[in-house]
Point group: C3
Chain length 467, copies 3
């Protein structure tokens, strides 16, 4: 039995399926452009073997453990590390069995398809994961992981990664990226400048972060040295391959204060005692400052807005961030982005890529904005929406207003390395299915679809991210 049908995600109707198959075949083996994600550069710097199936598939993947947790399984029993030093399950086989026994919970979810893809294509398994098959799968995976062909760099090449962007804090020393560059290995692993820790006054340790950060600007804690530090660090990140910055904000609010107002606001937030309104205003102002710097240094700017993070204080205190307790919230773009766009919306060469967790913005705000402002690109369906239905909703919602060429292609945005080929494969299949749908309903010529499937797979991402 195959875990996955060769025709998965392609349309069921024969004429449409044939068209989709042809289109998919044209990009099935194309290189992977991964311009935004959260894999660990240490993997590629050190090229050490991955430890075991549980550490590969479960403990680092909040998509996986949040679903198990939602059905009452304790995060401790899944080996999710405690932030408070408490003990958790450490036996990977036990963790794997618990996961396998509950694998039915993932029916019809993207996680299931990603994991099945890896189990089948990467680890050669052909039995659905379950209590019965748990041990055999665990042993087979671990055996492979121990072999040289499953080291990070080997997998990178096997996955046909043309470029892989990781994301580092503005305070990161980029030692792993340095090591990759110095190693002589040809794999293109690049960094991305993510300054949330020094931009978001609500970030853990913000005041200390800013103090440390300003040292890069050559002076004490002042607005000028703070800005200089950003410029300096962006240069260093660019020297480590970065072509983009990334900004994870609760809202898409931007502001365009005068520099003296901004300096005064900075002075207030670095006390750590600013009001919530002032803290939000600072984040808003900093998006505009980041745009100004992008216009200057050419780094592509990404905004990932709209997650209400760490919804449970108890989980945050016990396990830390990124534990599945990040819930999307309604997100405005039309009013929020206006100050930034008024100033830089037509700036030559400026690329601003927008992401949303609020799908209502697709037709209402994002496609109309991207369909007129020269600087704007729409990122692919993000996080919960990186799925068959999510991608189809995105295509059907934005294409009619924004067309294809205001899009930034696909990106996987993952920390689960083995899911990268699976995620890109899903995207290619959905795009083939969507283009086939356009053809059979007379909205696109077959000859155009051939060009577009290439654009959607590689061309748009290369151009939007200046790769």
């Amino acid at each position: 039995m195959a875990l996955l049908s060769d025709d998965r995600l392609l349309p069921a109707a024969p004429a449409q399926r044939d068209l989709a198959r042809d289109l998919y075949a044209q990009v099935k083996d194309a290189p992977i452009i991964s311009p935004h994600g959260h894999t660990d550069p240490r993997w590629f710097a050190e090229d050490a073997a991955f430890e075991d199936a549980a550490k590969l598939f479960i403990t680092p993947d909040h998509y996986v453990f949040r679903m198990l947790h939602s059905q009452g399984i304790a995060l401790e029993d899944l080996g999710v590390p405690r932030a408070d030093g408490g003990s958790v399950e450490t036996d990977p086989r036990k963790i794997w069995r618990l996961f396998a026994r509950h694998y039915h919970l993932f029916a019809a979810t993207p996680s299931r398809m990603w994991i099945d893809h890896a189990l089948q294509d990467l680890f050669g398994l052909d039995q659905r994961l379950s209590a019965e098959t748990a041990d055999a799968a665990f042993d087979a995976i671990n055996e492979k992981l121990a072999s040289p062909a499953f080291r990070p760099r080997a997998l990178f090449e096997r996955f046909k990664l043309e470029v892989l962007a990781t994301t580092e804090s503005a305070l990161d020393d980029l030692a792993h990226h340095r090591a990759i560059l110095d190693s002589g290995w040809q794999g293109r692993v690049i960094t991305t400048y993510r300054p949330d820790a020094v931009i978001d006054p609500d970030f853990e340790g913000f005041v200390g972060n800013v103090e440390a950060f300003c040292a890069y600007g050559g002076g004490g804690v002042s607005w000028d040295s703070y800005l200089a530090a950003h410029y300096a660090r962006r240069r260093v990140f660019a020297a480590h391959g970065a072509t983009a910055t990334d900004h994870g904000h609760p809202t898409a609010n931007t502001a365009n204060l005068s520099q003296s107002e901004a300096a005064a606001l900075f002075a207030e937030v670095v006390t750590g005692a600013a009001t919530p309104g002032k803290r939000e205003l600072f984040r808003a102002q900093m998006l505009t400052e980041m745009a100004r710097m992008s216009v200057s240094d050419g780094l592509v700017m990404q905004i990932h807005a709209g997650s209400q993070r760490n919804h449970s204080d108890w989980v945050l205190a016990r396990f830390g961030r990124d534990k599945g307790y990040d819930i999307p919230q309604r997100t405005d773009y039309v009013t929020a982005l206006r100050p930034l766009l008024q100033e830089f919306g037509r700036a030559e060469g400026f690329h601003l890529i927008l992401f949303t967790l609020d799908e209502t913005a697709y037709t209402r705000e994002l496609a109309p904005l991207a369909g007129v402002y020269p600087c704007l690109f729409l990122g692919p369906p993000w996080w919960f929406h990186d799925s068959y239905e999510g991608m189809m909703r995105f295509r059907r919602s934005v294409t009619e207003t924004a067309g294809f060429y205001n899009l930034a292609g696909f990106n996987d945005d993952t920390r689960a390395f083995c899911s990268i080929p699976a995620r890109h494969d899903v995207a290619r299949r959905v795009d083939a299915a969507y283009l086939a749908e356009l053809i059979v309903t007379g909205r696109l010529d077959e000859s155009e679809a051939g060009d577009l499937i290439q654009e959607l797979t590689t061309g748009l991402a290369r151009r939007a991210y200046k790769l």
Copy 2:
């Protein structure tokens, strides 16, 4: 001519239709679990014959008369009772003819399918309702209604109802439920604790309601006796079969005040003179109190949030509540539920079932919340969304993030008794169609679909509602 196709709502494409037919066949005759609704327990207590076709299908069903009214037909002419004592049409044949003459207004609406289902399956009619067929249908229905086989209890059994939950006010004496229990009849008709009349300061007669209610708590009007009254009444409801409470609030706001703050707020709202903000805060606080009591007594908690009720003062004054003038409004969950979830989101055995009239919350807030918090379940598409398209949107929106097992199955939420089999039949058909869609696109195995169609039909509801 049949009013309804045997294959209605199943997919049109042959391969998919065959799969869907097989799945539907597996649950077509399954018992009905109806864990939330608004039928009248008096029917089952007294088991008297229903009066006539108009009283069965038109005057109590706001789905029906609102549509006729929207096209300019006076509610009086449809026999909708006046709250102000004014006179209305009383000739059921006239009312029925008016309805039949305008039956084309219901084309492609769920009401049309529910009514056709009842006309065909229950009353053996095979002509589309119209001015021409009105009298024959009216006479045929009335003749059947007069027979013992169409008494409420007989229909209950004929509908294969395994359990039917009604909904009673916290002030209800539960006499009908008592009578059912005492009658020796085996039908399981249970109540649900609905305390809006004593929790919502905007409810008609709130101050008097609370005074009367506090007597159940053994004392005067105080926060302590008020809480004690809730505990006491919940126990009595549970003794009359209740496994759940239900809360109809304009928003999903929750609050978590200290008990002294809550007591002071209570003292203020029972004066009847609190500000709108305070009234909303009281509703919010009471959701958290209800959660606390559910954690203690095990009753499942339901929140039906987001209806702006009684949109027309004129209609409210003339005809009272529930007259079709209840309009959904934008509803936030992520911020609103946080106080309650912080406190009780992980509480052992606590079940909180969420409903929405704002479909934008499906992918943005509800599925992500249900996909991580152990206590949360998502109720089925509610009210306007209890329809083919509404159900399909729900499945396609929530499954990828919440999976199937964080759902509460189907419930019909109706006061139209004869629509119960029709509504469950629609749900079973849509579920079969959806699962077939997953299979043909390689997202689910056929063997899994067989389990899931059973879960969606009965299993999930039984577990979520602790039946």
Copy 3:
């Protein structure tokens, strides 16, 4: 090669396609009812030849030039006139070539289908527009435009326009409409009363506009003469064929102040110095005043709410309004319309047609409102949503709750004359496809679909607009 498939937009599955083809054939050649749009009455008054392909297809059509601009093409190079008197490209062939070279940007957008439709059906072209085909197309179009058969009146008749409504400012002298009426030509071109320039305190020149306007009310600048002017002008517009008014507001807010409060508010806004809140309140109050007048004089009222206009100050200053920089925003109806609906929701003969750019309102607010209030009709999918996917989303979202008879049929809302047949053709195809979908899934009888396709094409628009 044909530019367009005969079966475009019809369902791909054979059984469904056959049904859809039959339905489409029944209305393919039906007359066009165009009850709302922005064509120029001067065309029909003067009946002069259109100048050239660029002036016909590009410079007046913000759908077209915004997309080109979004990919970095300067509006100046597209010949978009400068509001500030600056110079722009004037060579129509150059403009046309620039457009043709970038025609791939429109792949899968409605503009592409509209333009292809006109190129093929009207101008007899059969090659996809591109750099290579640009000149041949340009010459062929210009040659035809110079012939009598392509004059505005000839096209009006060729398009089978039964009625075409234009939209004029409350300050317009209606000279073109007068000329059409006086010319003896039989084409029915009617006006629509659009008083935004004298109702919206944020409109350019509002204070002067109101001063000029009050002269129609026979007195100085006062609330009474202002209202009298509205009544007077509405009468004049009606005498020039108008059956409707139209109101383009940023929100759907309505208010119902006392007349003395309204008079005081008027006195404040005409100073030009009122706060944003007061300006919004005045717009809100005026919607209710317009409803009152409609109840009195029978003019159908349209509200087009929810566009945040002129998003870029730079573009507004340089090119003026309507340059593609109008972005939808979240729009509430349930609370916003309540004051107006409380007062006039049940008024005999009152028709209020609602439009939205916020699709989330379809199932949540608009369908429930239209499904109960006698006065309400829903306008067709507007602006960005006037597309295959947009129309399908609309049908699938509103029909189940509002039915078909609370809808206002289709309208093209265009200033691009040649797109009118194309737009109505798209609507007819989508409706045929949708009805076929209802039939094959057992939600509608074939016999009903035949009536409904006629209603959707002509009947509903005629009745809603009192044509």
